[in-house]
Amino acid sequence: MSRYFLIALAAGLILAGSPGASAHHSFAMYDPSVTVRLDGTVKEFQWTNPHALIWVIGVTKPGEAPTLWTIELPTSPGNLSRLGWTKHSLSPGDRVVVELNPLRDGQHGGSFRKMTMVLTGQVLLVNLRDQPKTEASK
């Protein structure tokens, strides 16, 4: 599947901030009332259970020295596949703008809210609760 085909995904992001958003642990260590905008470059995309991870080197303010952020997707490759993601959705070197809910303790980690691919304008989202009830199985 072409990565450019991906993601005419669900609108609305009610996921972050819901206790029990993941299959593995609560996301309450992230602050849903704060959204950080991280402008940077993908270092690595880890497509593994229980949660896929993205490492991005970037800045949250103009003029800031770039730092490495660990961004956690709220679910597993199985569920992400159903939402249109693949292991090829991101590659090292991709320029991205990420919106994330940061860790409450100030470390450079966060839970994924939204990502825009700078080159194509493509928007990546994750909303597990928007999965369809039963897809047409004709």
Binding site: H25, S26, Q46, S76, N79, Q131
Partner: protein, 268 residues
């Protein structure tokens, strides 16, 4: 065998699962009629995805009858989670087990029928598997405790009734990934699985945990049938997330541990 099955059904009707001897043959060779009988069972094929919104709602509509002491512990956990300090109940990557797999998982499952047996296979956890024996056997007299326990089942029309005992006392009764307590032993779960609509499977659970619940907890969970290719079950090895891809001293592909914090990769 027929007599044993009748006795088994009678005992189940009385609410007393039978305990059979630990010796003797249990897995007899299936005959053509046993395979043919499977064709008469309801169609539970496909992949089943949990209704997560309903999971959330049930916490309010089907309140858990915790003992007073446990209720205070649960309230404290809920307060801690709300304050942004969640207790990571499953960050060690051990299986959620029974009954939490059925209660809180956000991942898909599939259900296989074979002679004398219904098997539930889940996604995530690494070893998410329930064997439900429908051949009339009883529970072992003294089962070795396990995360998913020992399950026996029988069909009442198109409803599969499952009786589970032998669950490890450490296995958690969870409301979500940060709120729940170990069952502390003597857990007994009775489930009635049935299709509510052609593509909606319902699991009506009755959870008895005398050390942490003051009464049986009755609740239900809903699953949607999926047949599209993208719902094919994915392998889910929880511990894989604790490693990144690297190479060893000889240049072979290998897993390199990633520093962890709260069950996920620690920011660097």
């Amino acid at each position: 065998m027929r007599f044993a099955c009748l006795a088994f059904m009678a005992c189940l009707a009385l609410g007393r699962p039978v305990a059979w001897a630990a010796t003797g043959t249990i897995d007899t060779p299936p005959k053509a009629a046993d395979w043919a009988a499977i064709a008469k069972l309801p169609d539970w094929s496909g992949t089943w995805t949990p209704n997560i919104t309903d999971q959330d709602r049930r916490i309010e509509t089907d309140p858990t009858p915790w003992t007073p002491t446990v209720a205070r512990q649960v309230a404290a956990m809920q307060a801690e989670e709300k304050a942004g300090h969640p207790r990571g109940l499953f960050v060690n990557c051990l299986p959620q087990g029974m009954p939490s797999w059925m209660l809180i998982s956000h991942n898909a499952l599939e259900i296989l029928f074979s002679p004398g047996r219904v098997t539930l296979l889940g996604e995530s956890d690494g070893n998410r598997l329930r064997r439900i024996y429908t051949d009339g056997r009883g529970h072992p007299a003294d089962p070795d405790p396990s995360f998913h326990g020992h399950s026996i089942g029988h069909w009442e029309g198109d409803t599969l009734v499952v009786d589970t005992v032998g669950v490890l006392p450490q296995t958690i009764i969870a409301l979500d990934e940060a709120v729940g307590v170990p069952n502390d032993g003597d857990l007994h779960v009775i489930e009635r699985l049935h299709l509510a609509k052609p593509d909606i499977l319902v699991d009506d659970l009755q959870i008895m945990a005398p050390h942490v619940l003051r009464a049986p907890w009755k609740t239900s969970r809903i699953y949607y049938r999926q047949r599209a290719r993208k719902y094919e079950i994915e392998e889910g090895v929880c511990l894989q997330g604790s490693f990144s891809n690297g190479t060893d001293r000889e240049g072979h592909a290998s897993f390199v541990p990633v520093p962890q914090m709260d069950g996920n990769s620690k920011p660097q």
